[in-house]
Amino acid sequence: MAEKKRRDTVRRSMPKQDDFERRKNFAEVALGYTEELARGEAARCLNCKKAPCVSGCPVNIDIPFFVKAIVDGDFAAGVRQIKKTNALPAICGRVCPQEEQCEIKCVVGRRGSPVAIGRLERYLADWEATQAKIEKPRLARKTGRKVVIVGAGPAGITVANDLCLLGHDVTIYEALHEPGGVLTYGIPEFRLPKAIVNREVKYIESLGAKLVLDFVVGKTRTVDNLLEEFDAMFIATGAGLPWFLGIPGENLNGVYSANEYLTRVNLMKGFLFPDFDTPIKRPANVIVIGGGNVAMDSARTAVRLGADEVHIVYRRGREELPAREEEVENAEEEGVIFDLLTLPVKLVGNEQGWVSGMECLKMELGEPDDSGRRRPVPIEGSEFHMPADAVVVSIGNSPNPLIAATTPGLDIGRKDNISTDDNGRTSRHNIWAAGDVVTGAATVISAMGAARTAAQAMHEYLTNLT
């Protein structure tokens, strides 16, 4: 046994769609483990007593337990265990940065590659989806307390899940015509199929949560107006306001925020135009500015829309790319060209007001800055021109100020983030908030982790209400 484990130092790779084939379709790239691969990979786990991986997980899933369940072939037990702390395993198994959370801490990783915890989580969630009947946990007795959740992204869904289980009456208001937040309008189909998001939302609804779409809190009704009907509120409106660079030419036609670009494709199904009515351009030469997951998603979307050349322009080096390594590799495999240490200075247009190219400067890495990353500095005289007929600006988002502006007494911090205490409570006694609206653009799992903490605090508050 010990003998076998020593040899098995390499994690099972996950089957993927062929590099070339997938450039032409929007179907999911990573295909998931087969049962054989999952059980083989799970067998690499040492089932540590004090499992360090668990402490790396923002929602502290009992990882060794569910991995062992896979080894034993008791998948239902594995799913049950995960769902105790994570309402969205099929999503987290796909989009969490496991390599810097649980997997980085895995003991096996010290002598080889760590156990592929994310892929195993995904395996279990996908297994559950194929079952005729989804197990539902027991709901607590109705408390009669009414909670309103603003925003149906991962943070909102998590609180809905937890508070429904605790017997509260939950209503979610969502501004868009589909729930899911960034999972629906941002992350593309080829990375996170929308059927999965819909399934998770259906599940929350089956627990009793009511979902109201097309409802913009702060506009349709204000926070205070809603609170006349509800005992407590949870704000999970995300960080949806796109930043632009503030360089000349940014309002030329063919210059998009990543939000617009991805929304046209994901939410509005622009890639199916004219079957769906929302148009999307299919330019030949696309530049994506930025180096995060959002930039990778935009670039890979451009590839699928048939661009001849797609460039990622990022002002720092490859090491500094904030995107997950896996996403960078996927983009490279699909032919995306990385122009690193490159600073956009100006967008140039043609007579009709369409973008035709971008002027850039080459950068070099200087001294480390506050974030510990080496600061890029422009090289004098290094100006050069890149042709482009579309430019996607993907340099970040901040929270939408709409609710803040219409809610007196709600403290707002830097960059329009809602300020909260450690339990997610805002400056208003019956309003909590979590997710990107508090932290600024972050991750699905950090939004969910903070949401769970807030749900617990809200439960205490609701229980003590007289």
Binding site: A175, H177, L213, D214, P242, N251, S257, E260, F276, W354
Partner: protein
């Protein structure tokens, strides 16, 4: 799902659409817009609000049939439902007692200027309304507008009713009537709002325009609605849609509005308003 209460063509190519949406009807104000989708495959389409009935819970818009989604809207019958009706979006038009206010409406804006004029009248202004159209058969809602206006004028291109010409006749009309506006508010197609702004600039008449860029979400999430105002980028859906017409970069705005023209089924400019 939102119920269609009424949909009728009121003049060639312009439709009046009334939807049951109590939450929107309860809070809508002059200058707001809504975003709707005709069906599950439709675009999110922004429409200015032209009227509402808080008690009945209904909201009315006037829309011009231009592309695939408005073609679908133009097919709606009472009793049908649409999947999306979101609002009220955008900031409302600033209403105050300004003194004398000139309200200018053209094409769908003849409808959306109506609640503006009504609110201004209630706020104690002397309201002067001017409507521009290519010909008399393209005018609508004149009775409603007259009811909330102290004076009312028509300009038609062919002179079939009112003054013959186009909005450039505006200063003459005002002078003849002995009126000097403290504020001008314009709703309608881009070209007309731009023309009015050009005309009023040398006269120093403050001019508010209700901008109508391409939009998707209408909540500040996508940035497609951005425009330059006094050299700064603004999102029309959350910072507007009302802006100072003398500060808008019209050239850029017109270019951005045309960006999806080749994809639109029907050309945007071949419309009833003649611009």
């Amino acid at each position: 799902m939102y119920k269609v209460i009424e949909r009728k063509m009121i003049v060639p190519n312009l439709h009046e659409l009334t939807i049951e949406a109590p939450a929107v009807a309860a809070s809508v104000q002059a200058g707001n817009f809504v975003v709707l989708r005709p069906d599950d495959r439709g675009e999110r389409t922004p429409l200015s609000v032209a009227d509402w009935d808080r008690e009945a819970g209904t909201v009315t818009s006037i829309f011009m049939q231009v592309g695939a989604s408005t073609a679908k809207l133009a097919q709606l019958q009472p009793g049908d439902t649409i999947p999306t009706f979101s609002g009220p979006l955008g900031r409302e038009t600033v209403i105050d007692n300004f003194g004398t206010v000139l309200c200018v409406g053209g094409c769908y804006g003849i409808g959306s200027i109506y609640p503006v004029a009504r609110a201004l009248k209630r706020a104690g202004n002397r309201v002067c309304t001017l409507v521009e159209a290519r010909s008399s058969y393209l005018l609508y809602w004149q009775d409603r507008l007259r009811q909330v206006s102290d004076s009312y004028f028509n300009i038609t291109r062919d002179g079939t009713v009112g003054v013959k010409g186009h909005v450039s006749a505006l200063p003459d009309i005002m002078q003849e009537a002995g009126l000097k506006p403290d504020r001008v508010i314009v709703n309608g197609c881009t070209f007309m709002m731009m023309r009015v702004s050009e005309i009023t600039r040398p006269l120093g008449w403050k001019t508010v325009v209700n901008m109508n860029p391409i939009m998707i979400d209408g909540t500040g999430m996508c940035g497609v609605c951005r425009l330059s105002v006094a050299g700064e980028t603004k999102f029309a859906c959350v910072d507007g849609p009302d802006f100072d017409g003398h500060e808008v970069d019209w050239r850029e705005f017109l270019a951005r509005r045309k960006s999806y023209l080749p994809e639109e089924v029907a050309p945007l400019r071949k419309s009833g308003c003649g611009h």
